[in-house]
Assembly symmetry: D2
Homo-oligomer: 342 residues x 4
């Protein structure tokens, strides 16, 4: 049985395990003051092209999102996201648990549109009763989105301009950032993305690490006492070295991007495989998550051999499914799928 | 330079790194539904002697404490702890951040006294205005305490009886549980401790793991939808296998206890070393944290060679210090200290 | 200048001021333990036909909503409301501030539809990942709605049945309850409404009181320690008599309903006035809030003489406006409007 | 039966009821935008001698404290108070409910000592691990304290200087402010107090109003969007006029101070009465709350005729009691007490 259900089915890239073993008995201080974390931060600052960036290493995605959002907002503010945004749906209300509302806009294949954001903000401030409402205090995007789609440079720039107009900071959730940047359809570099954000994350968990999300404030403007608030959110690891070693490894010799590219290459082959056999795409994703409308015959053929995620069953019996590749996916796994698929 | 500053200066026990490597490419589902986590839970249930126990694996100590406490309490309740309790001092207000007050009692070398708890509760309910106050809803102890001390079976039983009388659940924070249980002065077994708690934790981070705290509800009475609340607190790991593999390894063939015993053996030798050379103990700790009153001469002799933690400088120039041993401490490190110490 | 902008433009019904003056120097205990509050509660229990009801008197609407909702929910739950619900829009995120999400459904002239609620709940529990989401824990309706509309007995009963099916409690926000019950189109009695709710409020502020909302748990099942949580929410009045005297007066000899009927009678005349002069209704409201599409000529004619609320300006220059009557509106005020209206 | 149990046993000063009746049918906008509130704010700005002050009118004491404290603090901060402070004991954890810790210092007859505050802050910042702890973000004093005692000008100035040194804002809870300022032992004027605070409250509820606390930011530096946060805390009254009319009346022709002086005059007579008959004072209070050690004989003599509050029963059978006078206490009530007291 092979699984395409998600991009966190395996452990870590072997280079990470090696590094953990190699550094294991070097004594280092806790809470992110270790040398590995320092090195990782320096490498990330270089990779994002922002020498003045502040970087923090946290453990998980929901944890990172709620910590960043809660610390960027004042009590009277909420975060603006599309209605399919991860924070709006699949984080068990973690943002609300910190006291803040998620203000939702329509999603277009998972994406926010700059003109809809602009219209919402114009309408908000035009409303005479806006002081009785939650004020927008941050804009949240995911890149790639929950549907695998990407913002083009023009689209992200347009959203940035709306944010500037309303003096709203912009947060990009990059839980799958590597898979976005390595897509053939991506016209943004990491540096260009960094320059358009006030804060963004570089996901490790889904791109080769055991765990870990790097939070980057490109201009070095982290909220005051962010360290203390990370602890308050239960997000401070005693052995910060676990995160330090992993990100240090991922950002040495471009490993992060190299293994992301592997996933994208195989995802494109996987899409081509389905398309060539006549399957309908639920949407045309340029990244490692592929959304396929699977026939009942295909489902039967794959049963017990290939696992994937079912999002929805259609009235005609077909199913909207997700097949995800990752840094760990192999050509052999794809070949198995190809051989079975009717 | 060798360090006795804390018990999380190194990575993980090699058996854990081996297990991570060995299992690395086995595909498993996320969020704790993996086979390693299942196995770890079964081993823990067996070790604590509670077949009906519910076990959850979380990542860090503050995270675990605030998640357990917030989910055990109703909005109108607070948690009772001694004033030196970790949750009362060194968790950046994580408990308060979830909306709950820490109600403090005096500490006696880090310990709560059953009679003081009883008197507090009697006084509380005798106060005609108690409905204007935060109601006690949970009792929190650490075992060992922040001062390395231990509750005897009689002491823990007495506290349990007070809890029973007031129908208060009891939570034991076992961030260093192994070091407590392996102390020569400990007259409690893990099973006996489990039977006296409503919930307790088995600390992995300080006892050989890269990260991880096991939360055990011995009678199987976890709060409803605990899984969802773990996620809401940002405490759910996507690759739950990272925790599963570690606890599975630690609870195979008694590894957890064996490596804890190593730390205790060396801690007792370390204490004896200081005592034999005429140093005063700040308090007589039976576990892996030793509190020594260090002279200026000794501090000078160790400078640059041996690191430890300074808690307080006394008017006479001596310092209250903490020397911690761990699963990773070696006889060689102790010999180095012995050679340097005047 | 006369104002139809809202139903809280004046002070209190004179009978309330008289009662406050009459009882002013009678010494009574604080925090709702006074005799006036006891009497008010007894009268309310009688009016709602629930001898076992628990009744609490709070001060304001947003305060009452967030206190009731937060105390009815467990941490992992949110409250289901339509997207135009007061709690979803105009309460400055008070519900989220207590840590809970407002889960929104489409609104139909301000109303929730039982079949849409049912479909949402079915979809929710059919979603394999629902444990990663906020669980629905309470259903919130306003009666009348923010658009002045009413649920029929059949509609409310249908929603109740969906709630029963999913074991969800139902909360009806009756900030304008009197105006709803006295509408000629209302086919529900207060008793019938009470029997369909787990908790509802009887608004005083907008129906003749200086301030005050009565919270009624018809079956006597208030959350444990509700009193303490009311205090914790800053919603406990030291001089509870202020609320007690007011509700005692409002529920003596049916005053509450009599003065609500006055508002409704005048609202129907006001609607008829506009309709007879050819104005379009934005929607046909059966209660004290009337939504009129006002021409520019009419706006000009009323300028400086009659105030009302503008909700939106249409592309053709006309405005969607709200005219509210209240217990204090007089036939003379309506006559002034009629005389000015082109 | 007459009652000295507290200072909120009656309704409001008759001048307030008159003003409410007189203004009752004047139509005014809601939410504090009414003319009465504007007038009240102007009068308060004048009385406190701060033309640039920002003034807000809220409803109750706990509500006001938790709203002010939560909006003055950042997430990582707590409020420093003495352990007998109202916010630390008798507000049902309202401060913690907003996510903030109350950091407590010893109380000296209810008062904080500047040198203890200074020592705490010095120790805090000297602790190498302070970033793992809740940072002090505000200092809270009550004036008078919960024990009726007062800070002298020198004491308050000393605390102010400590606050300045650590750049900590100072909040004075003036729930009984009038009774403090009118004490013969008070050497502070209202203007002098205002100049030493960043924010303070002027209590109405206990000094002649039905309800209401004025929040004053003397330098005009209220937290941004304080209005929205007042609403978010459920503390915004729809009919703000209720608070406006009351404070407008209290601050016209010095009524607030005049009626406070009445309470103080009678409190001094009451104290003298007990002292002259040989009763022990639990402490020597200079304000309207008097703490008397009452003999069993006296308790018996007063039974059923005079009510007071019992704080504690001593081993010898005597009771520590509180007798409170108020704006409403009459010489006749005192005479009754005198006649009965053995």
């Amino acid at each position: 049985m092979i699984s395409f259900t998600c991009d966190y089915n395996e452990g870590a890239h072997p280079a990470i395990l090696d590094a953990l073993a190699r550094t294991n008995f070097i004594q280092e201080p806790g809470y992110g003051a270790d040398a590995f974390t320092e090195s990782a931060k320096a490498r990330i600052r270089k990779a994002v092209g922002c020498p003045e960036a502040e970087v923090f290493l946290l453990t998980g995605g929901t944890q990172t999102n709620s910590t960043v959002i809660a610390t960027m907002l004042r009590d009277y503010q909420g975060v603006v996201a599309v209605e399919t945004g991860h924070i709006a749906v699949h984080e068990a209300g973690a943002v609300e648990y910190t006291g803040h509302k998620v203000l939702t806009l329509p999603a277009h294949e998972g994406k926010m549109q700059a003109d809809e954001l602009s219209a919402y903000l114009a309408r908000f401030y035009a409303d005479g009763s806006y002081e009785h409402m939650v004020l927008p205090g941050l804009v949240y995007l995911s890149f790639p989105t929950e549907y695998g789609t990407l913002y083009s440079k023009a689209e992200l720039t347009a959203i940035r301009e709306v944010c500037d107009h309303y003096q709203l900071p912009l947060f990009v959730d990059g839980a799958r950032l590597g898979y976005g940047l390595m897509s053939p359809e991506c016209d943004l570099t990491l540096e260009e993305l960094a320059r358009r954000c006030d804060v963004f994350t570089i996901g490790g968990t889904k791109v080769g690490a055991l765990c870990g999300e790097a939070v980057v404030f490109p201009s070095g403007k982290a909220p005051e006492h962010f360290f203390t608030m990370v602890k308050q959110h239960g997000a401070l690891l005693a052995k910060g070295r676990l995160l330090g070693v992993q990100f240090d490894t991922l950002f040495t010799d471009g490993l992060y991007f190299r293994i992301a590219r592997n996933a994208i290459g195989l995802a494109m082959q996987l899409k081509e495989l389905f398309v060539s056999k006549g399957y309908e795409l639920f949407l045309d994703s340029p990244t490692n998550q592929q959304f396929i409308v699977l026939t009942e015959a295909a489902a039967k053929a794959l049963e017990g051999e290939v696992a994937y995620e079912v999002w929805e069953t259609l009235p005609d019996g077909r199913a909207v499914t997700r097949f995800a590749t990752s840094w760990a996916t192999t050509p052999e796994q794809l070949a198995t799928l190809a051989a079975l698929l009717p």
